[in-house]
Amino acid sequence: MTSSGAVAATKPSRSRPSPARFFWWVVFILGVLYFFLPLLATLLFALRSQPFLSAFTDTLTASDFWSALGYSFVIGIITIIISVVLILPTAFWVRLRVPRARPFVEFITLLPFVIPPVVIVFGLLQMYANKPLSLTTAPYGSDLLLIGAYVVLSLPYMYRSIDAGLRTLDILTLTEAAQSMGAGWGRILVQIILPNLRVSLLSGAFLTLAIVVGEYTIASFLARPAFGPFIALIGRNEAYRPAAVAIISFGLTWLAMGVIAVIGRGSRTRIRVVGAH
C-alpha cells in the first residue's frame, strides 16, 4: 500500500508541465513552423502545376536536370576526396604534434566565411585565366578551378568535422599503439584513424556535397554546367518547376542525412560504451 501510494503521489507532479517546459515547447513549435512553412508553401505551389504533379515529372524526366545534378555530384565527390586527402593528415598532425598551431589552422579554415565566393572566383580568374596558365581556355581547366574553389569553400566544414572526430579519439595512444605494432604513418592514417572517423568524414562529406550542389556564384562565373546555375536558369524561365526542383533537392539532402544517421548509429553506440569503462 505504502509503495503504491508513493508512486501514485509522484505521478501527477511528473506529468504537470512546468513553465520552463512549456516555454521550450513553444520555442520548438515556432522553430518547426519557421523551417517547414516555407517548404510547405513551396510544395503547395509546385503542386498547382497542371496537369497535376507535372512540375515534378517534368523535372525528373528532363535530361538537363540530371546532367546538371550529375555534373555537380561528380565535382562534389572529387572535391570531397581532395579535401579529405588534404585535411585529414593536416588535422591529425596538428592534434598530434603541433597543437599550438591549431588556432592558426582554424583561422585559415574559417577564411571562406569572410571572403565572399565572388572575390574567390575573381582572384582565381585573375591568377589562372591569363597567360601562362590560361586554364579557362579548356573545359577541364575550368573544372579544375571550380574544384579548387570548392575545396577552399569546404575547408571550414570538413576541417571542423574531422577535428571534432579526432577529439573523440585518443589519437596519441592509438598512434603509439599502432607504431609499436610496426605501423608507419601511412598505415596509421588509413587503417587506424580513417576508419574511426567514419561518421565525422560522412558529415563533412555531405555538408561539402550540399554546398557544391547548391553553389551558384563560382560555377556561374566559370561558366560550368552545374546544378546551381541550372536552378537559377529555370527560375527565370518557368513558374512551377523551380519549386519542384527545390523540393526534390531538399528530399535528396534529407536522404543523405538519413544515410549519415543509419551509418553512424553503430559508431555512436560504441563510443558511448567504451567511454563507460
Binding site: 599503439a177 607504431q179 605494432m181 610496426g182 605501423a183 576508419p195 563510443i271 569503462h277
Partner: protein, 359 residues
C-alpha cells in the same frame, strides 16, 4: 652486457625540464623489471624512450647488442601495453591481436593460428569476433597484452596497465601477466606507482625519484634494505625516524633520548642527526618481566596513540616520550587483548631490524 641496456640515459624536454638523468640499467633476457616511483619521477618517460616515442637527449639504448637509440618506434619490435588499453575500435579482438602480424605480411593461416593461441593464452578463446567495446576493462587489457605479444617482441613494455581496473581484477590480471611472462620468457619492463604490484611481480625493481634512480634491487632487497630515505618512505610502510648519533662506528643512536642499537656502522659526528628505518613487522610488545632476547634487543617505553584493525593485521601507533611516533603490526588474534589507547607499553625490536639510511 645485458639484453636490454640503458646507458647514461638523460631526457631534457624543451623548456629545460629534466625528466630523466643518469639512468643506467642492464636487464637480462627474460627478466621482469619494474620502474617504481611517484608521478613525475621519470619512469614513463624512460619507458617511452625504450619504445621510441621519446628520444633521449643523451645516452644510449641497446637491445640484444643492437643500438636502437635513434630507431623509429615502428622498427624496434617492442611490444607495448598502455594504461588506457588503446585497442583499435574499428577492429575485432582477433583483428587487434593479428594487426602486427598483418603488417609483417605473415600468411593468413599463420596469423589465424597465432591469434587462436594467444586468445587461449589470455582465456578469451572463441571471442575473437567481438569488438573492444563489447568487452570489460580487464578483458580489453588482456587483448592489449595478447596484441603486444603477438609480434614476438624483443622487449615487452607495460605502462601502468592495471591502473584503470578495479582492485579484484587488478590482482587477477597481475598474476596472469606474471604467469604469461614467465611462460614466454620475454624481457619485460613494467611501470607502476603501486609498491605491492612491483613487489609481487618483479625480478628486480628500479625505484625512481625526480628523474633519478634511487635504488635497483630484488623486491626483498628493496623492501628489507632500502638504500635511501625516499625508498624507505615510498616502499612499504616503514617507520622513518630521525635519531641522534651516539657512536657511529658501533652503530648506536638515540631516539627521543632512548638508546637504540643498529648492526650497521656508519660515519657521523657524535650528536648529529641520522635517519633510521624500522619495519613495522619487527616491532613487538614486550611483556612485563619478559627476558631480554635478540628479537627485543632494543626496548623503548611508549604510549599507545592509535590502534587500527586491518583484518589480518592490527596496526598500532605509539608515541615515544619526545613525540616521535612509530607504527607496528601484529597478526590479528581474536583472543589477544588489544592495548588500550593511552596505555603505557614497552616495545622491542632487534638491532638488525633498524637500518641507517642515506639521505
Amino acid at each position: 652486457m645485458g639484453f636490454l641496456d640503458l646507458t647514461d640515459v638523460r631526457k631534457e624536454f624543451t623548456g629545460g625540464t629534466v625528466a630523466v638523468e643518469g639512468f643506467n640499467l642492464k636487464a637480462e633476457k627474460g627478466e621482469f623489471v619494474s620502474f617504481l616511483g611517484p608521478s613525475g619521477c621519470g619512469k614513463t618517460t624512460t619507458l617511452r624512450m625504450i619504445a621510441g616515442f621519446e628520444r633521449p637527449s643523451s645516452g644510449s639504448i641497446t637491445v640484444d647488442s643492437a643500438d636502437i637509440t635513434d630507431k623509429a618506434p615502428h622498427l624496434r619490435n617492442v611490444g607495448m601495453v598502455f594504461q588506457s588499453y588503446a585497442l583499435f575500435p574499428n577492429m575485432t579482438v582477433a583483428g587487434n591481436i593479428g594487426y602486427g602480424l598483418r603488417i609483417r605480411k605473415r600468411p593468413a593461416d599463420q596469423i589465424k593460428k597465432r591469434v587462436g593461441e594467444l586468445l587461449e593464452l589470455i582465456n578469451l578463446g572463441g571471442r575473437g569476433d567481438r569488438y573492444p567495446w563489447q568487452l570489460s576493462g580487464g578483458q580489453q587489457q588482456r587483448v592489449a597484452l595478447a596484441r603486444a605479444l603477438a609480434i614476438e617482441p624483443h622487449v615487452l613494455l607495460l605502462d601502468e596497465p592495471l591502473s584503470a581496473l578495479d582492485a579484484k581484477i587488478r590482482v587477477q590480471l597481475r598474476e596472469q601477466i606474471r604467469t604469461i611472462q614467465r611462460q614466454l620468457g620475454i624481457t619485460t619492463i613494467y611501470v607502476t606507482h603501486d609498491q605491492e604490484e612491483a613487489l609481487s611481480l618483479s625480478d628486480r625493481i628500479v625505484v625512481m625519484s625526480e628523474g633519478r634512480i634511487e635504488q635497483i634491487g630484488t623486491p626483498a632487497q628493496i623492501y628489507n634494505f632500502p638504500a635511501t630515505t625516499f625508498v624507505a618512505k615510498f616502499v612499504g610502510s616503514l617507520n622513518v625516524v630521525t635519531a641522534k648519533t651516539v657512536d657511529g662506528a658501533a652503530g648506536t643512536v638515540t631516539i627521543d633520548g632512548l638508546p637504540v642499537r643498529t648492526v650497521t656502522p656508519f660515519q657521523a659526528a657524535v650528536g648529529s642527526d641520522v635517519v633510521l628505518a624500522l619495519r613495522p613487522e619487527v616491532v613487538t610488545i614486550v611483556g612485563e618481566g619478559e627476558a631480554a632476547s635478540s628479537r627485543t634487543a632494543n626496548r623503548l617505553h611508549a604510549a599507545v596513540d592509535e590502534v587500527t584493525f586491518l583484518g589480518a593485521v592490527v596496526r598500532t601507533r605509539v608515541k615515544l616520550p619526545g613525540g616521535t611516533t612509530l607504527n607496528f603490526d601484529t597478526f590479528n588474534d581474536p583472543h589477544a587483548v588489544v592495548p588500550a589507547l593511552g596505555s603505557a607499553i614497552t616495545i622491542g625490536f632487534p638491532a638488525e631490524g633498524c637500518l641507517v639510511l642515506a639521505d
